[in-house]
Amino acid sequence: MSSRPVFGDFLDAARGHLGTAARLRRTAGREVDIQQVNRSLLRLVAVMHRYVQDATPGSVPGPPRGRRMLTGWARARAESREALSNAMGFLTEPDTARPQPPAAAGELAGHLDAVSAALAGGRDLLSTHLGTDPRGERELRSEWALTVTSPAVGRAVLAEMRSLARHIAPLGAGLALAPGPTGTAEARQNLNAACQWLWILNSSVNAAQRREPLRTADLELLRAIPASALPPRRLPAPAESVAGLCQGVISSAERLRHLSWASGRQPAWSPGLTVNSLRRIAATSTLTSHHCEILLRSLAARAPGNVPAGHTAGLLHAAEAAGHTRQDWIGVAHALDRVTTDTRLYLSPDADESADLALWTGRLAYANPDWALTSGPAHQPRPPGTLVPTPAGARLVVAAVHHACDTLTSLGYAQREQIRAAGAAQRILVTTRSLPGKIDIPHPFAPALPGRIQSMISACEQTGHSAEQATAHIANIAAAIRAPSRVLTAAREAANPSHSSQPSPDHTAHAHGAAESQPFAGEDPELPGPAERTLHDLGITSPELLQRGATIDRAGDQLIIDAAFGLGPSRIRPSASTLSRSADTATLVNHALASGDPRAAALLYSPRSAEPEPPQAEP
């Protein structure tokens, strides 16, 4: 959408390195040092653990007994934390309480380190939206912060961690059980046991997804979260292309949303809160609304072939709503004509940027390539044929208008809050000159009466509501034509779950497909079981025989899982590492765990692992 880095960039980098590591695993020989792999995997699992911690509301984990009361995603979070914590326990070398080993020398371990670095970068990106206030409490630092901390994004993070775990586990277990790599038996057992806990994470999140499917939109939203750094300010170049203008509108709208969010949070006494800024925003937002109406009518004129049938009316409804928004902004502007503030003639950054957005949308809406706010009369709208020459062009224009209208919504509500705060602080003033001459007031201004302030607040509220209506109409079009701006809808719903729409079957991520829209290159995470693998080793290629082998393996999995699950919680059983001491047993247990059956966790839970996990300090 803009030049800002987004979370998906880091996720893709991590997946790319993990895919390379998985390919290297297939031919791993003596050059691979298991101890080195363990160290690299420890770094990786530690980063994943921090992600899951971030996605967990509150900071103190409940005891496992309490966890039995949890369901769905809350349970998956608790179990994932424990699984990663246990995996870290197996990978931590006994003599180093908090190891900081040097970077891996081997190629495979190097790629695992690169996965860790990419994931750490992604987590840093998410953290740019949050901070800590002087009292040590979490502070929101951008308009994305509520989205980043939302349950929807938390679920998407868990789904991504599951996807990673599902690919790391066979990689690590494969190395642990392969004859080629060098390493002690203990190091191999620890690596395999750690990977078994990653399969537990996979099963836990899988179970949550079956119970409460994740929406594809939430996964897309997570990927689209940008760094909180603003895109640079840019003004349209002469004869800018339609695509360039659309990108300019989007970038300006993103900047303005952030600046408006920041303005809405300034204290009532801030000298930056001036009537001049409020007026400039009202005037320029009137124009932006008007331009959006023009653009939507042009889109409607070009709808056949570019927009799915049935959405022409939606475009016209959106245009009408944009027209209402324009009229409401004019109402706000008129209300602001009659008041002033105690500080003047300072234009806030959002006031400047709102003029930029009006300019960008005007350049897109009008045929004149040099259109400006000072342009004289007789400028014609851009011909619809040049605005939307292709369906791809329609997606971009819809995205631009969607962003602009979404920003107008933010501005309307931000103005409401600013006027409310300034009014409460008696900073909204009226001139006393307009009063009848016989009323002798020695001061040129007096605080506005509450009724006037309330009517201004109502005008802004109505404007925000109108813009919201226009945005909702455009959001439907954006979803229908898969315009890139559709993540805005998911972001609003995530930040305000009461606005969420129920997921339709088309919009839920399938349990197995969730978080894997960007597949790992050339790597199938499914492990063949012992029978199927033996057939492969024999050179059998018959699909029927291989299928029979897989069926036998699945039956074996079920037998082992049923037996372990039937033991009950009080029965003393061997620990996971004891169970995996033999490579043959480890292979069977691994395959049962990889089945994704959540009951397979019974294979690993022992009295020791039922204790509360130790607290994990941030490195």
């Binding site: 009537v275 007026r279 320029t284 124009l287 008007h290 008129h334 003047r344 003639l345 009006a358 706010l373």
Partner: protein
């Protein structure tokens, strides 16, 4: 409607700092009413009028903080709109506002020079900037 010729004449005739500030204040107010009357989205000057209205209100408010501004309107302020000017085109109104803003720039510059009060000087400087903005927005409207 357009800014009234009477306002322009009053501004031209104003003598002394308080009188200039008083008539300039009214001139901004008149321009505000005039451009608001023409803010028709279908009109070609919609954008310029919207922006000019904000500048007119800002200019008026700037003068409202001038210490030498009389606390009440002077008695010779025209009451209401000039019926003869109602119904004029948006282009004519823009041209009249541009002309008035140019006169404002000149008279307020005189006032700023003549005043020794920093508050008056600052108010005049701020108001001049607003008049310049209006002139830039509406000055080329006939083109």
């Amino acid at each position: 409607m357009t800014p009234t010729p009477r306002t322009q004449q009053r501004l031209r005739d104003a003598a002394g700092l308080p009188a200039i500030l008083d008539t300039a204040y009214d001139a901004f107010e008149d321009m505000l009413l005039a451009v608001r009357a023409h803010e028709d989205p279908a009109g070609g000057l919609f954008a310029a009028f919207m922006m000019a209205a904000a500048a007119a209100a800002d200019g008026r408010d700037a003068l409202g903080f001038a210490p030498s501004l009389p606390p009440c309107h002077s008695q010779d302020r025209p009451a209401g709109d000039d019926p003869a000017r109602a119904g004029e085109s948006a282009e004519a109104s823009a041209a009249a506002a541009a002309s008035l803003s140019r006169l404002l720039m000149a008279r307020l510059a005189e006032a700023r020079t003549s005043s020794s009060d920093p508050g008056d000087r600052a108010a005049c400087a701020d108001a001049i900037r607003c008049a310049e903005t209006i002139h830039a927005l509406l000055g080329g409207s006939g083109q």
